[in-house]
Amino acid sequence: MNTLSTYLIIAALLFGLGLLGVLQRRNLIGMLISIELMLNGANINFMAFNRFLAPEPAVGQIITLFVMGLAAAEAAIGLSIILALFRKFRSINVERAQQMRG
């Protein structure tokens, strides 16, 4: 139902799924995706509190907005570090990577 606790439960589930991804994914990009899920869980919380409890409806929305912005920055940084790592491997170990394919 469209109540506070429904949203909170959805948020908790998203957060939990995100955690699961962070804990068991071996792919770094997969981990990053999972972290985005966790942040979304928090965002749903903010929006829900904003809708059902908060005195000013604008505050929660603004927070959500900023969390999104930060998530974007975080993703950019995370991806660049992952890419750097990848480039390093390739530059060191192209041969092996190809061997493995074969």
Partner: protein, 173 residues
Amino acid sequence: MNFMTEAMAQAAFWIVVGLTLAGAVIAVFPRNIVYNVLGLVLALTGVAGLYVFLGSMFIGLMQLLIYVGAICVAIVFAIMLSRPLHLEVPQRKLPKVLLAAMASCLFAIALIGVSLRTAWKPAAERGTDWSVATIGELLLTRYDLVFEVISLVLLVAILGAIVTAGFSRRLTS
């Protein structure tokens, strides 16, 4: 009629919820990274729908714009740039998956418990001003500092991405 719209709204709500969770599951479980990204897109769209249900079309749109439009695209680019990534589908180790599942289940259950056991109290006076104009105004007054700092954060992110990923002009790798 009224009943119908309500039922429709209900159904739509649950569909959105289902989409979100299904997307999240797809984002986490399959071993192919491309499916994960698609799942993420699905989940984020679902969340955007939830925001609409929570009364804010604006944030829902932003969600689509920022997350789906920016983050997911960036991730896709990263996957393209690191081509062999999606080729790798090594076997999972069962103990690790089990442990991770247990820990995250524990966490989720605990969080659900917290949200159910807490007596959430609405504020005494609830404002009704949902307009985007108010958000804009607050951004330029009360959240002025944050607004300015986030530009710095983004600057750092861009610079950092350039430097770290090795695309700097000075770096000829």
